[in-house]
């Protein structure tokens, strides 16, 4: 009796079980039979479909699995083009997963106190079995995640995948980039070595650098927002044990939580905004070499056969509905591609972890700063601007860049370039903009190194002038005007957006390179780190 009920409820879509008509043996016989059928029934209870080899079961493999069903049942073949996505979104997600796992494991040994933090890192390195690899992997994955998130943004921008209806997902993406950088920075601080300590000192003073502005405006006495932000970050007025605990909490609880929620939203919106972007005029030969799905294709070309599960896709997803015959089953094609990216990322990170140790300087010494005290490489571009003005480099310039990026999908409402890398006119604009911005920045930085800046010419100058006019803000102002000129001259907002984005890319790359290679002790200019004076 109970057997038949269970069969009905569990084997929802499973192939019908063989009926074994042996109830003669009484109660124990039934039990024995259930025990024998245990493995099969258990499998049916967990996975409610057969081997994914038919259209139906492949759909169910995706649809009935909580983890896989973030995917649609069918994936457009364009999405599987390696040259289109370059797998960067998946790679970034994979890195986040690796970071979560290694991070949680590191938490077992790490002690967030002033006295023990540094030594616990040493313990992880020398005493914990596999600890060195764990920390190295965590460190290199963090670095790679910054790179892959940035490159992912570059891909999304150049394939115009931020345009309507994907504006909001672009904004979530920018928030995720900020979270990635914040996670990197707070993590950089936890080992409490010289690098970490002085990074917190500089970082917290950047948070407090609004005081530069309020001082220049003479309102610090009544409205000291800089000090407020600093105290919230440090839990004290100077860097110490409270700061470690706060950075630890931010790094391990607050930011990962926000990140997880936003990643969920990011994925959700990809589905809701019509799947991954692709051109509306795909030619068959462009899809050559991509996996095909003969069974599925026949189904769509057949006599009006409908694919019932696809009805779950919202009506707005025009592209999805349009060329159904160019889709393939997500199982196995999309998952195979994703797994390839995940395993590649894991291999790269593990290899880096085995062969290169994460840096660890001597223990923090509040009396003697590192010279030069450099932030992680991806902040060195900003640190160069910080060396002109703390407020401009720490708050003004990054805020301008983020707001500028966030505005792009709302200022460029052109349609039709979706899903393709720039060609012809767009590509020309990109190359010219990259060259222009490169020359601009090199000229400005050379000028700065040779002739100094406002404070060197007029030592008594009001700080407000330096906040407003410094090499960083100057080139950004030029770039903004330059991008507007593109739109004005060509009548295309997309070209203006390309010009602006290319300028920001050059800004990030050249300033980062300059801060990394050409700045030495006392933030003086050197052609090469080997020329630094020994001290």
């Amino acid at each position: 009796m109970s057997n038949s009920i269970e069969k009905e409820s569990s084997a929802l879509d499973a192939p019908a079980e063989k009926t074994t008509g042996s109830s003669q043996a009484g109660g124990f016989g039934l039990l024995l039979e259930n025990i024998r059928a245990f493995p099969g029934n258990f499998r049916d209870a967990v996975i409610r479909h057969g081997v994914p080899d038919s259209q139906r079961t492949r759909s169910q493999a995706v649809f009935s699995n909580i983890f896989l069903h973030i995917h649609s049942i069918r994936t457009h073949r364009w999405t599987l083009k390696k040259s289109f996505t370059v797998g960067l979104g998946v790679a970034t997600t994979a890195l986040f997963l690796i970071l979560s796992v290694t991070g949680i494991m590191l938490m077992v040994y790490y002690k967030p106190t002033e006295a023990e933090a540094y030594n616990s890192i040493k313990d992880i390195h020398y005493i914990v079995p596999g600890g060195r690899l764990l920390r190295n992997t965590h460190r290199w994955a963090a670095n790679l995640m910054v790179i892959s998130a940035l490159l992912h943004m570059v891909r999304v921008f150049f394939t115009a995948s931020y345009q309507k209806p994907r504006e909001f997902n672009w904004l979530i993406g920018i928030a995720l980039l900020v979270l990635t950088l914040a996670l990197s920075f707070t993590g950089y601080c936890l080992p409490w070595d010289q690098l970490a300590y002085w990074a917190v000192v500089i970082g917290s003073n950047i948070a407090g650098s609004a005081v530069e502005l309020t001082d220049a405006l003479n309102v610090t006495q009544v409205f000291d927002i800089g000090m407020m932000q600093r105290q919230i970050l440090l839990g004290a007025s100077s860097v110490g044990g409270e700061a470690i605990l706060r950075f630890y909490w931010i790094h391990c609880i607050a930011l990962p939580f926000a990140m997880t929620v936003l990643i969920g939203m990011h994925f959700w919106r990809i589905r809701k905004d019509g799947g991954m972007s692709r051109p509306s005029d795909i030619r068959e030969e462009e899809l050559a070499g991509l996996p095909e799905d003969e069974v599925g294709k026949a189904a769509f070309q057949g006599s009006g056969k409908t694919y019932t599960l696809m009805c779950a896709v919202p009506e707005k997803t025009l592209q999805v509905d349009k060329d159904q015959e160019n889709t393939v089953h997500s199982w196995p094609h999309a998952f195979r591609a994703e797994m390839a990216v995940v395993m590649t990322v894991l291999a790269v990170v593990l290899l880096l972890g085995v062969f290169y140790n994460a840096p660890l300087k001597i223990a923090a010494d509040p009396a003697i700063p590192e010279n030069p005290a450099k932030a992680p490489w991806y902040f060195l571009g900003l640190q160069e601007v910080v060396s002109y003005s703390a407020f401009a480099g720490g708050i003004g310039v990054p805020l301008f860049m983020l707001v500028g990026l966030a505005c792009i999908p709302f200022l460029d409402r052109e349609r039709g370039k979706l899903g393709r890398w720039p060609r012809q006119r767009d590509l020309r604009c990109a190359i010219i903009s990259l060259a222009f911005s490169f020359l601009c920045i090199v000229a400005t930085l050379s000028f700065r190194v040779h002739f100094g800046w406002l404070r060197d010419w007029w030592p008594g100058i009001n700080q407000l002038w330096i906040i407003l006019i410094n090499p960083g803000t100057l080139v950004l102002a030029v770039f903004t005007g330059y991008s507007l000129l593109w739109t004005g001259r060509t009548g295309s907002t997309r070209l203006g957006a390309i010009a602006f984005f290319c300028c920001l890319m050059t800004f990030f790359v050249v300033f980062t390179y300059f801060g990394t290679v050409h700045r030495g002790p006392n933030w003086d200019f050197y052609w090469w780190p080997s020329q630094w004076p020994t001290h």
């Binding site: 003073n205 530069e212 105290q231 919230i232 910080v386 060396s387 933030w523």
Partner: protein, 170 residues
Amino acid sequence: MTTPNETSPEDSAKTTDGLSRKDFLSTAGVGMCASGLALASAGALRSAVPSVLPDASAQFKAGKSEDFVPGTMKDFTEENVLVLCDADGVFAISTVCTHLGCIVGQSDGGFLCPCHGSRYDADGNVLQGPAPKGLAWFDIAQLPDGNLQVDRAKPVQVGTKFKFTDTELG
């Protein structure tokens, strides 16, 4: 609730200024929820900064007055203060760079910050670099036990020096 002869609750409940009772109540409800959540969050966020910060005392003893003769220089590395003495008296200069808080070193008769190259003269006035203002000077007072006390919470004008009275010098 609504009787069949009523056309709609909105029409029947119009107030004089045209806002229906239903709209008023729902707007008020949303407003209450929003302000309630905002106040609760603000109250929770207030805990981010304690009423008493866990900092070391701003005051420290710099030594007895007889320790200071013109030319004396004492470097208090834990407090990041340099206490100096010249013919005009004793004075305390902060060694924390006003740019981003690195510790300045002495160089060429002035101060130089290793982090971003800010340069100061011997009195801590900015000569060069990104520092927005000069190094802070702190108040010095003599305690009853003869010790000089530097108070980092009390910045003073550049050039303010503590002078001993004649009896103490003698």
